[in-house]
């Protein structure tokens, strides 16, 4: 039988059950825990950076313990600011935005939503988590090497990232660790993507046709296709970078480069080559972060609205076209690289075209809300918040897609505001929505709704207070990546920065409410019924939390489309996918 690949006995030892588990649910939780550790580390880094930006001479107690050289007496050097910037970006993009919505929720719910017992290759699945974990440890160890983390940013542009410690702090061992960490992360993500695709194609339950898969499953499936091809390019890029750094090759470093009065022993390399390889991964990565959130949000909104979206097929088609187009727009990150202006135009068009499926999705969400009986709870609030963030962050993308405007705005806070809203905050709202929605299934306990709503409103208002003024700062010419604003023309902008910093502290503090709710509910929350939201998909047909083999000895059979809500003539307001009840099909 084919399912032997995904079939394994119940775990017997502690190690097999909780540490080196092959159970997709445990692996999903492990990914979630890793993302949680990364997101709080990244958030604390952003606090430290925001504090330094507005009070550059004030000591941050304890920072000197992290790096004596980087923060003597607790006041960080400009270089150390860049080190923290690099770590913040790398942690958030890779270990939070890729891990949580895709690897964590995908691992936990994709097999259940298609009625499978586990992933297609459970051992690969375990490996992909532990390799990711190793990548995390390698990255974090950069904090503790003598010259600290690299200063080259999460994009690690060559030649800065490729020439070694001559070019500045963190570019020796720190940059090596960064490159190794990302290479490991690529390997883990490739294994994960392979597993997701094979599982979706091969292990669907009887009756679970492709069009009967929930939108969240579709989103994870499309994301894994994107991840498979994107990380397959970043891995070679990292390998070339490592060779340039430790083996003296010249893939990315041009000749005749004098750094710190030393002629670099390289010749003829192309710094642009790194940018091309990196962004060929980097832009699809944006969609690796946002597509699962789109799927999760659609899944939750439909449940809260008690009716399907205006068109299931168009939503899936839009997500597919976003995935396809994501490979054709990488050059829009490089308008300032000195590329041929004609090339810039070539990249600008598909960038504008990609807004069409994104707009269609947004209109479908909003149009479906019209006339629905929306149930307000923490999950649906965060789902709505996702749409708000996605629209607010996406609108500035229209401007940035045009080379002539981007050239002015690219190195300013405008771009920082844009990508934080559309990619960072939006995806994190998707993660929160997913957490509030699926926590009962994952833990067997309900989360506290009041705390959830407090968390939502502080986060929602706070995120706007932080990132909206970024756009204003950018228009005013406030450059990115500076560790303090001592220039005359930046002085009048300092009050805005102070406002942002205070907002960042408050919004960050609100996340502690979430953390408390998560831990408190895990132990003291009310017991969760099997289907607390009266939802239709397969994950709600099994106990909360599910047994190790998901469906017990039953083999689920699927009779219905995923979202049979409010069908006239049906016994109830909703019909579960595995219910043999005959319900009229909507014409």
């Amino acid at each position: 039988m084919s399912q032997e690949a995904a079939h394994h006995g119940p775990p017997t030892s502690f190690l097999r059950k909780y540490i080196f588990s092959v159970d997709h649910k445990v692996i999903g939780k492990q990914y979630y825990g890793l993302a949680l550790a990364a997101v709080f580390t990244g958030m604390i880094l952003s606090w430290v950076m925001r504090f330094h930006l507005v009070w550059p001479n004030a000591a941050i107690p304890g920072l000197q313990w992290l790096s004596k050289v980087g923060a003597p007496g607790g006041v960080m050097t400009p270089e150390y600011y860049l080190s923290l910037l690099t770590m913040h970006g790398t942690l958030m993009v890779f270990f939070v935005l890729t891990n949580a919505p895709f690897a964590a929720f995908g691992n936990y719910f994709l097999p259940i939503q298609i009625g499978a017992e586990d992933m297609a290759f459970p051992r690969f699945n375990m490996m992909s988590f532990w390799v990711t974990f190793a990548a995390f440890v390698v990255l974090m160890s950069a904090f503790f090497v003598p010259d600290g983390p690299p200063i080259s940013g999460w994009t690690a542009y060559a030649p800065l990232s490729a020439v070694g410690s001559d070019a500045g702090p963190g570019l020796g061992m720190g940059q090596n660790l960064w490159a190794i960490s990302i290479a490991l992360f690529c390997i883990a993500s490739l294994l994960g993507a392979l597993n997701f695709i094979a599982t979706t194609l091969d292990l669907r339950a009887k009756g679970m046709t492709l069009m009967r898969m929930p939108i969240s499953t579709w989103a994870w499936f499309i994301t894994s296709c994107i991840a498979l091809l994107a990380f397959a390019v970043l891995l070679p890029a990292c390998l070339l970078l490592i060779l340039d750094r430790i083996a003296g090759t010249s893939f990315f470093v041009p000749g005749g480069l004098m750094i710190s009065d030393r002629l670099q022993p390289h010749s003829g390399g192309s710094p642009l080559l790194w940018q091309h390889l990196f962004w060929f991964f980097g832009h699809p990565e944006v969609y690796i972060a946002i597509l699962p959130a789109m799927g999760i949000v659609s899944h939750i909104l439909i449940n809260s609205m008690r009716k399907p979206l205006l068109s299931h097929k168009v939503v899936i088609g839009s997500m597919l076209s976003i995935g396809f187009l994501s490979y054709m727009v990488w050059g829009h990150h490089m308008f300032l690289s000195g590329m041929n202006p004609f090339s810039a135009l070539v990249f600008s068009f598909p960038t504008l075209i990609i807004t069409i499926p994104a707009t269609i999705l947004t209109l479908i969400w909003l149009g479906s809300l019209y006339g629905s009986r929306l149930q307000i709870n923490s999950a649906s609030l965060f789902a709505l918040g996702f749409i708000s963030m996605f629209v607010s962050g996406g609108v500035s993308g229209f401007f940035l897609a045009q080379p002539s405007i981007d050239i002015y705005l690219h190195a300013t806070y405008f771009v920082v505001g844009h990508f934080h809203l559309v990619m960072g905050v939006a995806a994190i709202f998707g993660i929160f929505a997913g957490t509030y929605f699926w926590f009962p299934k994952m833990s067997g306990h309900m989360m506290n709704e009041t705390l959830g709503k407090i968390h939502f409103w502080f986060t929602f208002v706070g995120a706007y207070c932080i990132f909206m003024p970024f756009h204003y700062l950018g228009l005013a010419g406030n450059v990115r990546r500076y560790s303090s604003f001592v220039d005359d023309y930046l002085q009048p902008l300092l009050p805005v920065h102070k406002f942002i910093t205070i907002a960042a502290f408050c919004t960050g503090a609100a996340q502690l409410v979430f953390l408390f709710n998560l831990i408190y509910s895990r132990f003291k929350g009310a017991a969760a019924p099997d289907n607390p939201w009266n939802a239709t998909s397969l994950e709600w047909t099994i106990p909360s939390p599910p047994p190790w083999n998901n469906f017990g000895d039953k083999h689920p059979v699927v009779y219905h489309d995923p979202y049979q809500y409010g069908v006239e003539g049906a016994k109830e307001d909703f019909t579960m996918q595995d219910s043999p009840e005959r319900v009229p099909v909507k014409s």
């Binding site: 690949a5 094979a198 046709t209 083996a247 080559l273 009779y559």
Partner: protein
């Protein structure tokens, strides 16, 4: 355990059209299209997905090569490809042939259609030996380049030579690991080898052969 079907179940009750016709109903279990007990083997699907990722990685390497060749520094220096590569190529092609025989023998053995386990094992071991021979041959090629004073960082051409051959060799070693696994599963008195595992391993191996021929073209034409 799940069973997949890939087409919508055939519904027996469709609207007949016209006013007041009964709406369509999703089917009962009895009318779900029977697809037999077998769904596609994940190993067989998985290997194609893995090959897509590997192809993409090599596409990235080759793109890097083309970009690097066009560098304004004009430091692209032709290197003579070691002759042993052609011999290695022949070995790798031969190994694909022996593996194909092994695959058929194994299938025939699993289905009890005549072939014995030892016949299948012999062809598998021959493939394994040829594969090891190929990797050793690649090592000889590296030694030859070294003896000419061409190291990894000597010039971009030598960098790409070592890079492409080494990354390919690592993938071939992975394939050898797969072959060893197939042999280990076929060797016991009660074999536990599944045909899909054998097939997946052989697809991977043939792909490594095709990839190598492509790489050889690139090495000869570009370096």
């Amino acid at each position: 355990m799940a069973t997949a079907i890939h087409e919508p179940p055939i519904t027996t009750e469709r609207p007949t059209g016209g006013n007041g016709s009964p709406p369509a109903f999703p089917p009962h279990e009895e009318s779900l299209r029977s697809v037999g007990d077998r769904s596609p083997e994940p190993a067989r699907t998985g290997i194609w997905i893995a090959l897509a990722a590997i192809a993409m990685s090599f596409a990235a390497f080759i793109s890097a090569l083309i970009v690097r060749q066009g560098s304004p520094a004009n430091d692209w220096q032709h290197i003579a490809i070691p002759g042993v590569l052609y011999f290695n190529t022949a070995i790798l092609i031969l190994s694909s042939l022996t593996l194909e025989v092994a695959r058929r023998q194994t299938a025939s053995f699993i289905r009890a259609q005549g072939a014995t386990r030892n016949q299948a094992l012999a062809w598998l071991v021959a493939t394994l030996g040829l594969g090891l021979f190929f990797v050793a041959g690649q090592y000889v090629a590296w030694l030859q380049l070294r003896s000419e004073g061409l190291y990894l960082a000597t010039n971009p051409n030598s960098s790409f030579f070592y890079l492409l051959t080494a990354v390919h060799a690592i993938h071939v070693l992975g394939g050898l690991g797969g072959l060893a696994r197939v042999i280990r599963r076929l060797a016991p008195a009660t074999p536990i080898l599944r045909k899909s595992t054998m097939d997946a391993t052989s697809y991977y191996w043939h792909f490594m052969g095709i990839l190598w021929i492509y790489l050889l073209f690139i090495l000869v034409l570009k370096l």
